[in-house]
């Protein structure tokens, strides 16, 4: 595994070097990232990148195929607009983790901040802990699994994102409803959690049957004057 030290390098230099090494088929360990911003953004090569510590804002945004592991926590906008690939953060993530992703998988092995998965189009987000205010907001597709609790306004104004939540929901967002889980859903949860989470983390999680499924109530999809009250409340 190739070693890349951050000290003394600009973010552009670090990212260019990660890309060069990935192109050569190397897996890369990036040492002392020091929670700096924009690390590993727009990696269009597949391959493994390990950040040996915390990262700042927008880490692994816009990636297409890379498998990124963060051995620390992550700031705002983690894996934003990811096209495909895998981003695993061993600590907590800041606000807007997995914003607008179009594919791939984001796994937060701690808690995630406000607006987790905002406007996600597809892909999968797993949060082992709890998620912050207005997570799932305007989600258009994909799936989000929160093993812990959700803060207020969970799943607000969603389109077709499907959320599963193992803990308590402080408050459902506008037009979010709890739906009946199917056997297929339970199987999906089982498969996803055992595939993406190490055994040590799976031990304390709720069973697949204990997750609640939250989807859009579809009341806000089309404007109807007769449902003005619903709209008034949502806006």
């Amino acid at each position: 595994m190739a070693e890349l030290a951050c000290a003394g390098r600009t973010i552009r230099e670090i990212n260019a070097e990660i890309r060069r090494l990935l192109k050569e088929g190397e897996a890369v360990t990036v040492s002392s990232p020091g929670a700096r911003h924009n690390l590993g953004v727009a990696l269009l090569e597949s391959g493994v990148v390990v950040f040996d510590g915390s990262v700042g804002y927008y880490c692994a945004g816009l990636i297409d195929g890379a498998r990124v592991r963060i051995k620390g926590s992550a700031g705002w906008g983690l894996a934003e607009s990811m096209l495909s690939g895998e981003v695993i953060v061993e600590g907590n993530a800041g606000n807007s983790a997995g914003a607008a992703i179009r594919g791939g998988a984001l796994v937060v092995q701690g808690d995630s901040g406000a607006r987790t998965g905002v406007s996600m189009k597809n892909g999968l987000i797993i949060v082992t802990g709890s998620c912050g205010y207005m997570s799932g907001f305007m989600g258009q597709g994909g799936k989000m699994i929160i093993c812990g609790d959700a803060a207020e306004a969970f799943g607000d104004s969603m389109y077709e994102t499907i959320c599963f939540i193992g803990g308590a929901i402080a408050d459902l967002g506008n037009d979010a409803i709890v739906a009946e889980s199917t056997d297929e859903d339970k199987q999906f949860l089982d498969t996803s959690l055992s595939y993406y989470l190490p055994a040590a983390l799976r031990g304390n999680l709720p069973g697949a049957g204990d997750f609640k499924k939250v989807v859009s109530g579809r009341k806000l999809w089309n404007f109807k004057k007769s449902e003005w009250k619903t709209w008034e409340q949502a806006l």
Binding site: G34, A35, S73, G75, G91, N92, A114, E152
Partner: protein, 281 residues
């Protein structure tokens, strides 16, 4: 704190400042008085000392940068003391007053703050600091943070964000006779917290009520002689994260400041919407 400010200095290089706390020394009030925006004014210093002397004999008088530092009898009324000193010349402002608190701030980088005031040599249980990128109001010493809550000994704040109902709140306070020193919305925070504490609320209670009473975006740190706490707005618009151990707590806008000083081990978490947390010494 200096290391953390250095790490965040690139985010806001306009000004830097710290509010530092030490154990109360005998109950006297320590004052940091700004003599003017443009460096030390000897006439200003003499005028301040003359005014202060009318109330009691100033002790430990010294000058650094644009500041005159002096110690006054602890039994003096803080509001009257500040007003008396500020009547010396129009440029004079009491930047901090308290039995434990001292604020120093100036235009420029954290490194310049260290060069002028040697803040790294200061020893105490807690402190808060700020580097500023001005978006809407002036870049000068008075608009720099931390802000002392004028008239309320030992209370200081730093704020990232925008209090959008500032004008409405300010008008209410001005009707009660409270003087404002800047056109900066962050100044309202110290006034609000001071009023709450004066009414007998705990720091936690004041910060919880702030979530209801302030509009806009805010991540805000507040410190008193024996406590430090934060509050975040209802939409989690502004960043603020924290980490804690049995021995200490650290709060920062960005993790880069934590990693610069505390290495990789300390776990941090982004504060949630409406979250309030207070630590006591």
């Amino acid at each position: 704190m200096l290391g953390m400010l250095r790490a965040l200095g690139c985010r806001g290089p306009d000004s830097a400042g710290v509010a530092l706390y030490h154990s109360p020394a005998g109950g006297d009030l320590v004052l940091q008085v700004k003599l003017g925006e443009k460096g030390l004014s000897q006439d200003g210093a003499e005028a301040v000392i003359a005014k202060a002397s009318a109330l009691s004999q100033p002790k430990d008088v010294s000058t650094t940068g644009s500041y005159l530092r002096l110690t006054m009898e602890g039994s003096l009324d803080p509001v009257r003391l500040a007003a008396t000193i500020e009547s010396a010349t129009p440029d004079v402002e009491v930047v901090s007053m308290g039995r434990c608190l001292e604020i120093v701030k100036q235009v420029g980088s954290p490194d310049r703050l260290e060069e002028t005031f040697h803040i790294s040599e200061y020893k105490g249980p807690h402190g808060i600091g700020h580097t500023r990128m001005s978006t809407e109001s002036k870049v000068d010493l008075s608009h720099s943070q931390p802000f002392w809550a004028h008239g309320c000994p030992d209370l200081a704040i730093v704020h990232n964000g925008h209090i959008t109902n500032y004008h409405k709140l300010r008008r209410q306070y001005e009707q009660q006779g409270i003087r404002f020193y800047t056109e900066n919305d962050s100044e309202i925070i110290g006034v609000y917290v001071a009023q709450g504490l004066l009414r007998g609320l705990s720091l936690e209670e004041v910060l919880r009520s702030a979530v209801i009473d302030w509009d806009g975006s805010f991540s805000c740190l507040v410190s008193t002689a024996d406590a430090m706490g934060f509050v975040k707005d209802s939409f989690a618009h502004k960043p603020l994260l924290f980490g804690e151990t049995d021995e200490f707590a650290v709060v920062a806008t960005e993790e880069i400041a934590v990693r610069a000083e505390f290495g990789g081990e300390l776990k941090v978490r982004e504060a949630g919407a409406r979250e309030v947390k207070v630590w006591r010494n």
